[in-house]
Symmetry: C2
Subunit: 222 residues, 2 copies
DNA sequence: AAATATCCGTGACCCAGGTTACAGACAAGT
DNA sequence: ACTTGTCTGTAACCTGGGTCACGGATATTT
């Protein structure tokens, strides 16, 4: 029973009709993806709407010089809006997608079905709209940050956003660099500064934040 | 008869029902805005969906240091998606909006009406979806450009996109700088370089592109 | 345990582009 | 014709952060 799982993770879909639920139940498929898997390539045709139910899906571009920059991350309870977009526009996927750190589960609702649902089910329409608009705000704030903040401010903000409940970020410097679109050395340098100022502690493959508050202040100071 | 005007400019709305047309006709309002008018302030409540029918509406943010950066420009036949967004989310407007260079006309469909139309009219839904998704691609490419291209490449690309049919851009250096989120001096410097290389000619308040092709090549060269 | 891969630290260098600080050119109002 | 405002040119300077070139540290595989 696919749909129960979906509804708990995507409460906005609660209003689905019986018929809609059945459609999804019968025709959506679920996939498990291992860590370090390239999932979607730029130019791929998109087979349907992707709903992430566990793990995380990273969507990124690669610029002319070969540097990756993360556009956004799709977490459980979210959907990949680029794919959604492509479902309607029949365009091909305009970026890359990969599973990096944790095994990930995602549900695929085939394009045809999704389009039908979209026209019949208000719940699906709301869902689609909210996915798109959430992503827009996200992109806008990324853009704003990348233009007006210095690297150490962006790093601080990234760490705060990414840390788990224990204040630990389990990523290599290179991973972080890719997310922020910069070089590994730069991240190492800045992290070292933070460590010297007592804001965090560095380990191989992870970072433990010590003073969340001071990290927040990096924003204002300069 | 408001709706005729709308339909010609927004062909995607063609499928509107009689009823929908009437609603718009009766309850939408049209405003003319003069040049150099601050129209929307950050935090304003949004009264409805804005459709631009003439001129242009610039949407921008202001960073901590007081620099403006244009997020996007709404042209005739387009709609301000942030406003659309706010219509549904009941959020306040998260940026600034102004009319800068040319007098602008815009039609406002009150929030309540727009929501009703959205639930009843497939045409309105398609419209909304396409506005959102177009803007997403736009934002993504802006983001990509701002991260991976050098200033002179971004300037070249901006000039190409902004020039009118005669290859003329009627903006001051300061205006351009605001759009690209940089300083006036930087733009002057780069433009001068372009002029020396014969790509364009500078006048007070405007720029005439001479070799569109070479300007495109700035992308590749460096 | 040897070999190989991944990760991290660090110093030296360089440059695009932001900043400061003027000065002259043109436009528009009085 | 002045005055005042807007727009442009330019030079000198400074710095964040990208790049190069390492070497050592910790995992992982064989």
């Amino acid at each position: 029973m696919l749909t129960n799982e979906i509804i708990t993770l995507f409460p906005i879909l609660e209003g689905l009709s019986k018929n809609g639920l059945n459609l999804i139940n019968d025709l959506a498929t679920e996939n498990r993806i291992d860590t370090k898997t390239e999932l979607i390539f730029k130019g791929d045709p998109v087979s349907g709407a992707y709903l992430v139910t566990a793990g995380s899906l990273r969507v990124y571009t690669i610029d002319l010089k070969g540097n990756e920059t993360t556009l956004y991350t799709v977490l459980p309870g979210e959907s990949c809006l680029l794919a959604l977009n492509c479902v309607f526009s029949e365009l091909r996927y305009p970026a890359w997608g990969s599973v990096d750190l944790v095994p990930t589960k995602l549900i695929t609702i085939p394009s045809v079905i999704f389009k039908q649902l979209y026209s019949e089910e208000p719940a699906i329409r709301n869902f689609t709209f909210s996915v798109l608009s959430a992503r827009i705000f996200d992109l806008m704030s990324t853009l704003e940050e990348s233009m007006s903040l210095s690297m150490n401010q962006r790093l601080a903000s990234f760490l705060i956003r990414t840390a788990n409940h224990e204040g630990v970020v389990k990523m290599s410097h290179q991973d972080i660099a890719s997310h922020l679109g910069t070089a590994r050395e730069v991240i190492s340098r800045l992290l070292k500064q933070f460590e010297k100022r007592g804001l965090l502690k560095l380990f191989r493959g992870s970072i433990r934040i010590i003073s969340m508050q001071s990290l927040r202040n990096v924003h204002e100071i300069t």
